[in-house]
């Protein structure tokens, strides 16, 4: 009996067992709770960081396949020990502190950057019983913790005492704060449907996945959180193939590596959040009876979102910064505002007893809105102000028609 209990809900089982064990040792109840909190938080945080190692391998392999390469394939079978080799290398690198660095922000920045991502895992419901904390303001917590990541970027830029780092930090900051606006607005929609702000409550309320009720909000959340993560096509805050680097230019060793740890982990955390907010989280068949299944459902859904994010990363070129700002302020923000207003009014107008009718109407509304916005953008693009043409372009070199076209290569 105990074994089956362990199999279907291991974390609760272990927690209860530990509680009994500590009570048997005569630890007072308050301290037992405290110790359990510390153990749980430590396990979750460490687990998140260890998970990053797997993510690094997976992402390198995935991007390799997208680009018709093998990816890491030398160390161990399929190269699965590659991240450990990288870790060994990065752990034994020298730290270089630039001249005139401001030590406290400079040292604090990589720590804060990782902390801001790992902290998100505190509120993620992995299955209906396993959740770090059921904070009833979970959605705002996600946004607020994102602000700490922004501060870390300022600290990195300021602490490095480098002009490029400073400039890159401010550009990055402009991007991050701008993309926070449509995200905050779009997240109003799932909160409105669920009537709760806690992530587990939102997952629990999704009898119909919210991606059906508000696909546009899901799209906006996906785009903005990709931009918050600073990934392609929004990776110009650290365009490593064009610029020297971003705000992290003066960092070395593990301090530099932590920016990448945060980046990889954030990419998957976005998948988790998306799955919880719009794909029903841990919900799936038989999850009420066997809670451990919820973890698999959640990670499968998150994995799909993560895969799409990587697909985007491998396929799309990056935007220019003015294009990026235009996309945010002139497309995403108005769309999000209109979406919130329309959803609020239409959802109130339909009788909420007819659940499927309501879902269908909202879905159609979202699609129509998407099409309308696409048309508006097309119209604007056709009528955009363009510089006046003052001269026709004149080719510098001109090939001779007869020889070049009929016998290519024979004109020599």
């Amino acid at each position: 009996m105990g074994f089956i209990q362990f199999l279907i809900d291991p974390v609760t089982f272990i927690a209860r067992w530990l509680q009994m064990l500590l009570a048997g040792w005569g630890v007072p109840a308050g301290w037992t709770q405290f110790i359990l909190f510390v153990l749980g938080a430590g396990a979750l945080g460490t687990g998140a960081l260890m998970f990053t190692i797997a993510l690094i391998w997976f992402e390198r392999k995935l991007i390799g396949r997208f680009q018709d390469r093998f990816g890491p394939n030398r160390v161990g079978p399929w190269g699965i020990f590659q991240p450990f080799a990288d870790m060994g290398k990065i752990f034994t690198k020298e730290y270089i502190t630039p001249d005139g660095a401001d030590p406290v922000p400079f040292y604090l920045a990589p720590i804060l950057v990782v902390m801001s991502v790992v902290s998100l895992w505190a509120v993620i419901p992995f299955t209906l019983t396993v959740v770090g904390v059921e904070l009833n303001v979970g959605v705002l917590y996600i946004i607020g913790i994102g602000g700490i990541g922004e501060l870390a970027i300022i600290f990195a830029g300021w602490g490095s005492n480098n002009k490029y780092a400073m400039l890159a930090a401010f550009r990055a900051l402009a991007q991050l704060i701008s993309y926070e606006v449509p995200m905050v607005i779009a997240l109003l929609v799932p909160v409105m449907f669920a009537g709760k702000m806690g992530l587990n409550d939102i997952a629990r309320a999704q009898d119909i996945w919210y991606i059906v009720l508000c696909p546009l909000a899901a799209l906006i959340f996906f785009i903005t959180s990709t931009a918050e993560n600073g990934r392609t096509p929004f990776d110009l805050l650290e365009a490593d193939s064009e610029l020297v680097a971003g705000f992290n230019i003066e960092y070395s060793g593990l301090r530099f590596g932590f920016y990448y740890v945060a980046d990889f982990l954030h990419a998957f955390t976005i998948g988790l959040l998306f799955a919880i907010l719009f794909l029903g989280g841990w919900r799936g068949p038989f999850v009420e009876q066997v809670p451990v299944l919820g973890v698999f459902y959640l990670f499968a859904k998150a994995g799909i979102v993560y895969f799409i994010g990587n697909w985007m990363r491998a396929s799309l070129p990056r935007f220019r910064i003015d294009q990026m700002m235009d996309i945010n302020w002139k497309i995403l923000t108005p769309t999000a505002l209109v979406l919130v207003m329309l959803t609020a009014v239409v959802d109130k107008l339909i009788a909420s007893e007819l659940l499927y009718l309501q879902a269908a109407v909202l879905f159609v509304l979202n699609v129509v809105l998407l099409v309308v916005i696409g048309k508006v953008i097309d119209w604007y693009w056709a009528h955009r102000p363009r510089p006046k043409v003052v001269a026709t372009p004149r080719p510098v070199a001109r090939y001779e028609r007869s020889s070049a076209q009929s016998h290519p290569g024979a004109g020599q």
């Binding site: 945080g45 505190a122 705002l140 409105m192 009014v345």
Partner: protein, 118 residues
């Protein structure tokens, strides 16, 4: 009780502590051979001129400003969104008015060119 926040606090402390330990560990493991040239500021190989001072354009400030206004207004909408299922159509209309004012702010900023990067 405060146990939710206590857990969040413990989690924040641990989430800060773990990377700190890793960074300190790597600092112990790694070599320490500083020299003057290594610690100069990296500027594509040229020596850095003057102090780290660049005059930022006010456009950065304007973006931050518009962001603050939107953030504050939207956060005020969150209690309304939580209460949405209990509200009547009239209350929703008031919130729509609120969002419309926000929209007017966006249109104003757009018309004034505050949202233009260049």
């Amino acid at each position: 009780m405060l146990s939710d926040w206590l857990y969040v606090g413990i989690f924040l402390v641990i989430a800060t502590f773990l990377p700190f330990v890793a960074i300190t560990l790597a600092g112990i493991l790694g070599p320490k051979k500083p020299n003057r040239l290594k610690s100069t500021i990296y500027e594509c190989g040229i020596e850095t001129v003057g102090e780290t001072w660049v005059q930022f354009r006010a456009q950065y400030y304007i973006f931050a400003l518009v962001f603050v206004v939107f953030d504050v207004e939207t956060v005020l909408l969150y209690p309304w969104a939580v209460a949405y299922n209990q509200l009547g159509l009239f209350a929703v209309a008031e919130a729509v008015l609120f969002v419309l004012i926000l929209f007017a702010a966006l249109v104003y900023a757009w018309r004034k060119g505050a949202l233009r990067w260049f």
